[in-house]
C-alpha cells in the first residue's frame, strides 16, 4: 500500500553538529490528522522542514505519495510543494495585497488560469468564513482572521497534505478553537493534516493521532492520543 508520507531511518544533523532528529520511522496515511507534539527544540520544525524539502535528511529516506523526495532535483522541488499546503505561526501574508489577492497569488504562482482563479478564490474564502473581508488588507484583520487567510492560501491549490507549524501559537484560546475546527473540517474533506503544536488542551480535546518528539527521537505514536507533558 502507498503511504501518504513515510520516513525510514531518518536522521538530521545540522552543520555544527546539532542533532535535530534521530532515526525516525513513521508512516502517515492519506486522510489522517496528526498532531506533532514535544517541547521546543525537540525537532518538530525540522520534521516539517524535511517533509517540505526545505532541508535534506542526513540519513534515511522520505517518501511522499510513493515518491522519494530525498532524490528530487532542485528543479522538481516546486512541484512537490504544490502538493503540500503550509501554514505558519506568523501567518506570512503579503501586507500590501488584499485578502483576495493573497489567496489568488498562490494560484498565479502555479500559473492557474484567471477563470479558475475567479471561481476558486471566493469559494475557498467562503469556506474559511472570510467572504465579507475579501478586500481588506492583512493589517485590518485580527490574528485569527489572518490565519484563516493563510489557511485559505494553503488550501486553494487543492494540496494532498496541509502542514501547519504552531498555527495557533499567536492566537487566543477561543480563536485557536475556531482554527482547529476549521482544520477538522478540511480533514473531513480528505486532506491529510500534520499540525505541530504546543496547545495541550486542543490536542487533548481533539483525540487525534499524536506523534511525540523528544530530543530528536520519536518517543510516542498513539492513535486518539493526548498531549501529555513527560513520558
Amino acid at each position: 500500500m502507498l503511504h501518504m508520507i513515510e520516513m525510514i531511518g531518518v536522521s538530521k544533523v545540522y552543520p555544527g553538529g546539532c542533532i535535530a532528529l534521530k532515526d525516525i520511522n513513521v508512516k502517515i496515511e492519506k486522510g489522517e490528522f496528526v498532531f506533532l507534539v514535544g517541547p521546543t527544540g525537540a525537532g518538530k520544525s525540522t520534521f516539517l522542514k524535511l517533509i517540505f524539502r526545505e532541508e535534506l535528511p542526513t540519513r534515511g529516506q522520505i517518501f511522499i505519495g510513493g515518491k522519494n523526495i530525498t532524490r528530487l532535483k532542485p528543479k522538481e522541488v516546486p512541484y512537490l510543494r504544490r502538493k503540500l499546503g503550509v501554514v505558519f505561526q506568523d501567518f506570512r501574508l503579503l501586507p500590501q495585497k488584499t485578502v483576495y489577492e493573497n489567496v489568488a497569488f498562490a494560484m498565479e504562482v502555479v500559473e492557474a488560469s484567471p477563470r479558475e482563479i475567479k471561481k476558486r478564490v471566493p469559494k475557498i474564502l467562503e469556506m474559511v468564513g472570510l467572504s465579507h473581508k475579501m478586500n481588506a488588507r492583512p493589517h485590518e484583520l485580527s490574528g485569527g482572521e489572518q490565519q484563516r487567510v493563510a489557511l485559505a492560501r494553503a488550501l486553494v491549490n487543492n494540496p494532498d497534505v496541509v502542514i501547519a507549524d504552531e498555527p495557533t501559537g499567536n492566537l487566543d484560546p477561543d480563536t485557536s478553537w475556531e482554527i482547529m475546527e476549521l482544520f477538522n473540517e478540511i480533514n473531513k474533506n480528505g486532506t491529510t493534516l500534520i499540525v505541530a503544536t504546543h496547545a495541550k488542551e486542543l490536542v487533548d480535546a481533539m483525540r487525534k493521532r499524536v506523534l511525540q518528539l523528544e530530543n530528536g527521537r520519536l518517543v510516542r505514536d498513539e492513535e486518539r492520543g493526548v498531549y501529555r507533558g513527560e513520558t
Binding site: P78, R82, V86, V109
Partner: protein, 290 residues
Amino acid sequence: MKLRTIRYFFKEAFVNLFRNGWMSLASIGAVASALIIFGSFLIISINFDYIAKNVESQVEITAYLEDSVNQLVLNQVEYKIKSIDGVKEVVFVSKEQALEEFKKQVGEELLEGIENPLPHSFRIKVETPQEVAAVAEKIQQIPGVEEVKYGKGVVEKLFKITHWVRLVGFAIMVIFAIISIFIISNTIRITVFARRREINIMKYIGATDWFVRWPFLIEGMLLGFTGSLIAIVLLTVGYNYLYEMVKLNIPIISLLPIEEFYDYSLGLLTIGTFLGAFGSGFSIKKFLRV
C-alpha cells in the same frame, strides 16, 4: 511559458517599480551617475583615440631628390619607392610645385627674382604609422635620393603618447565599469531584500525559481534602461556643448563628430540594461535558497 505569465511578470515589475518609488529612483540615479562617469571617460578615451589617429594619419615622409636627376632616374626612384612594403601612396612634387607652395607660405614678394632653390621631391604615405621609420630608412638607400624627412623623434614621441592615452583610458573605463556593477547590484540588492518575505512565500507556495526571478530581472532591466537613458541624454547634451566649444575656440583640434557617439550610446543602453538584469539576478540568488 504562458503569455499571461509574461504579462504577470511585467505587471509585477512595474507595480514593484512604483511601489518602491524612492528606492527605484535611487537605483535609477545610481545607474545614471555610474554610466555618466563611465560615459565621460569613454568620451575622453575615444576622443584621444580619434585625435591620435588623426595625427598619426597626417605623418608622412618627404624624400628630396638630388639636383642632377633626370626623368629616367625620377621614374626609377618612384618605382622603387612604390615597391617598398607598407607604402600606401606616393605623390610627386616637382621643383615648380614646391616653389608655388613655398610662395604661398612665405609670400610672393620675398622670392621675386630668385632662382628656384628647391629640389624635386616625393611625398609618401605609409599603411601604418608605426612603419614610418623603417620605410624612411629604405627610401634613403635608393640612389638619387638626397635626403629623407619625416619628423624623426616627433613621430616616435607621438606614438608613445597615444599608446599611453589608450592604455590609461582603457584602464579607467574598466575600473568604472566595475564600480557601476557594484553600485547597481547593491541598490537592487536592497530592493530584493525589502521583498525577501514575498520571495520566501512564493517559494513555499511552489513557485519555480524562474517564476520568482523574472519580475525582479525585468525590474532591474527597467531600472538599468531608464538610468542609462538619462545618462545618454545628459552625455549627448554635454558632449554637443563641448564639441561646439572646442570647434569655436580651438579649431586645430577636431573632436569625434557627435553622430559617431550615437553608436556608443546604443552600447551604453545595452550595458545599462544588462547591468540592471545582472545586478538583480545576482542579488536575488541568495533569497531563492529556501
